[in-house]
């Protein structure tokens, strides 16, 4: 399915080139030993753990997702030779190191509370009621140490104990819900579910609503643009091109809501 061809875009003399996402061992590059669940494989250095495992012959069903560090499918734990420490990372983002011992944790059980976003109170107390285990936190900080996104997990849990939902929402924003925090928690908290709830309460109830949006919704529902859009859908290409070329461009540096075009008949 993937055409093995040399990259068309290079003007340099040919060297082995990767196509698509298939890893290769470039000319002159070294391999290093890594241990996947205890078993040794020699893989090209500089690859990510994910690509190195694929190079070694693994085909992921679980443990691979976006392959770009944002979906949380590939959390991985590893240890290095001569280092007692447990290290954490995303397999798609972490570069292999010689003699690393790794295992993926593509899933970790964590309970999630069901709630009704329309009727829940936007308070920390509402969160305590759904997740009373919040108070089992002993501030050991294992969660923060495990987070591959550098989220200050303990700090957002602390913010909730302090009643500050907005702060918890902001501190947890980069969370990709991989579950490593929950896997390491002494208090057995499902941190990332708690954070999700905090962010939704913040987005729905605490952040100020966009008034211009409410206004536009009302205009659309009143049918203000129906005729305009109907006209456009039946318009010939020449007329569309003319209108397209005549568009005024909102200035780059004008803050939102401060500029108006000269032609306002279609607003």
């Amino acid at each position: 399915m993937i055409n093995e061809r040399t990259c068309q875009c290079t003007t340099e003399p040919m060297q082995p080139m990767a196509t698509g996402d298939r890893a290769i061992l470039p000319k002159g590059a070294k391999t290093i030993p890594i241990y996947v669940m205890g078993k040794k494989y020699d893989v090209p250095e500089t690859l990510t753990i994910m690509k190195a495992m694929e190079y070694a012959g693994f085909k992921f069903i679980r443990g691979a997702g976006c392959r770009g560090g944002i979906c949380g499918a590939c959390p991985t734990v590893y240890r290095k030779e001569g280092d007692y420490k447990l290290h954490f990372g995303l397999a798609c983002q972490t570069v292999v190191e010689p003699n690393m011992y790794l295992a993926q944790i593509p899933f970790y059980p964590a309970n999630r509370a069901t709630y009704d976003i329309e009727t829940i109170e936007p308070t920390a107390e509402a969160i305590y009621a759904l997740y009373p285990e919040l108070f089992r936190c002993v501030a050991c900080n294992n969660c923060t140490k495990a987070c591959p996104m550098g989220v200050q997990v303990l700090d957002y849990i602390s913010a909730l104990k302090q009643g500050d939902v907005a702060k918890a929402a902001q501190l947890s924003f980069d969370c990709i819900q991989c579950g490593l925090c929950a896997s390491r928690c002494m208090g057995e908290l499902p941190q990332y579910h708690i954070a999700q709830l905090a962010r939704r309460l913040y987005g729905k109830y605490i952040q100020p609503r966009a008034e211009h949006l409410q206004k536009r919704v009302a205009e659309i529902e009143a049918g203000k643009y129906d005729k305009m859009l109907d006209d456009l859908t039946t318009m010939g290409k020449d007329q569309l091109e003319k209108l397209y070329k005549e568009r005024e461009r909102e200035p780059d540096m004008a803050p939102p809501g401060t500029w108006m075009p000269k032609d306002t008949q279609y607003l």
Binding site: T144, K145, K161, Q162
Partner: protein, 293 residues
């Protein structure tokens, strides 16, 4: 000298009247403190088990934050937080073995050896301002207010972290005197409010709360001055139940000591937050003409 301030979770949620009055008063008295930019729950309870080191991690992390802020002192208001932080601090200062274990566990933080001193708000006022200066700054003295100072259990126990020698009980008295109030000595001032029994034996907890209030009024007090959100829960918020079950005859005003300070300093309503206290607490102040507004 730089002083860090540790608020504690309850002060940010249920006991805003304890905190906001304190912060405003410090500003009025010219004492500068800086709230910790990052802090976690202190753990609220000091573990007595000799090998239960994990419960020291939370307070020690807060102490490390104060050290990172470059402070020599960490001031706090809530009695539980004070007790937990101060006792953890002593362990880190004096117990070499536990210190090493805890520091080794918290590899992501700098090593801590008890560099920061944990002080209670009352000590800070006494030492940084002094009672004479407080008296000078008082604009609305609490004249005619007979107030029983209630320490609860954790400000005086154990002796190693007591805010003053347990048998002296001068600190609270001097504080109230400086504000122009009349302190009323009573037998229950350092009896536990019942908090520790509230889940296991709620009735016992209510019994002791009722007794404390009764002892105070019997000694001639119009009101109680409190320092801890848990005490306030048992001695303040629970009063309707205590009345209903005949443990006390009627409602008795309670104030956080920081509210009394803010009122005496003549700070505005929005700062002393009496809106969060029981109705009778506000009425008493009005009847004694202690409110400037």
């Amino acid at each position: 000298m730089k002083i860090s301030y540790y608020p504690g979770c309850t002060l940010k949620s249920k006991a805003k009247n304890l905190e906001e009055a304190a912060i405003a008063s410090l500003a009025a008295l010219g004492v500068e403190v800086e709230e910790l930019p990052r802090w976690n729950c202190c753990g609220a309870v000091h573990s007595l088990a000799d090998d239960d080191l994990i419960h020291y991690v939370a307070p020690v992390r807060d102490l490390v934050r104060a050290m990172q802020q470059g402070s020599q002192k960490l001031v706090t208001l809530c009695s539980m937080c004070y007790n937990t932080l101060a006792r953890a601090n002593l362990i880190m200062r004096d117990d070499e073995v536990k210190r090493k274990t805890i520091n080794d566990f918290m590899t992501e933080e700098p090593d801590y050896h008890g560099e920061v001193e944990v002080v209670h708000f009352l000590n800070l006022i006494r030492d940084e301002v002094g009672w004479d200066k407080v008296r000078e700054k008082v604009k609305a003295p609490l004249t005619g207010m007979k107030i029983a100072p209630y320490y609860g259990c954790t400000l005086l126990r154990p002796r190693s972290v007591a805010i003053e020698p347990p048998e002296s009980q001068e600190l609270f008295r001097d504080f109230l005197t400086a504000l122009g109030a009349t302190p009323v000595e009573f037998a229950g001032s350092s009896v536990c409010c019942g908090s520790y029994q509230i889940l296991a034996s709620p009735e016992a907890s209510k019994d002791i709360a009722g007794k404390i209030i009764a002892w105070a009024t019997k000694a001639g007090a119009d009101a109680l001055a409190l320092s801890c959100p848990l005490c306030e829960f048992n001695l303040g918020k629970k009063q309707p139940e205590l009345i209903e079950t005949g443990r006390i005859p009627g409602a008795v005003p309670t104030y956080y000591f920081t509210q009394l300070l803010a009122i005496a300093l003549g700070l505005g309503d929005d700062l002393h937050r009496l809106d969060l206290n029981t109705e009778c607490s506000l009425e008493l102040l009005k009847s004694k003409k202690c409110l400037t507004a």
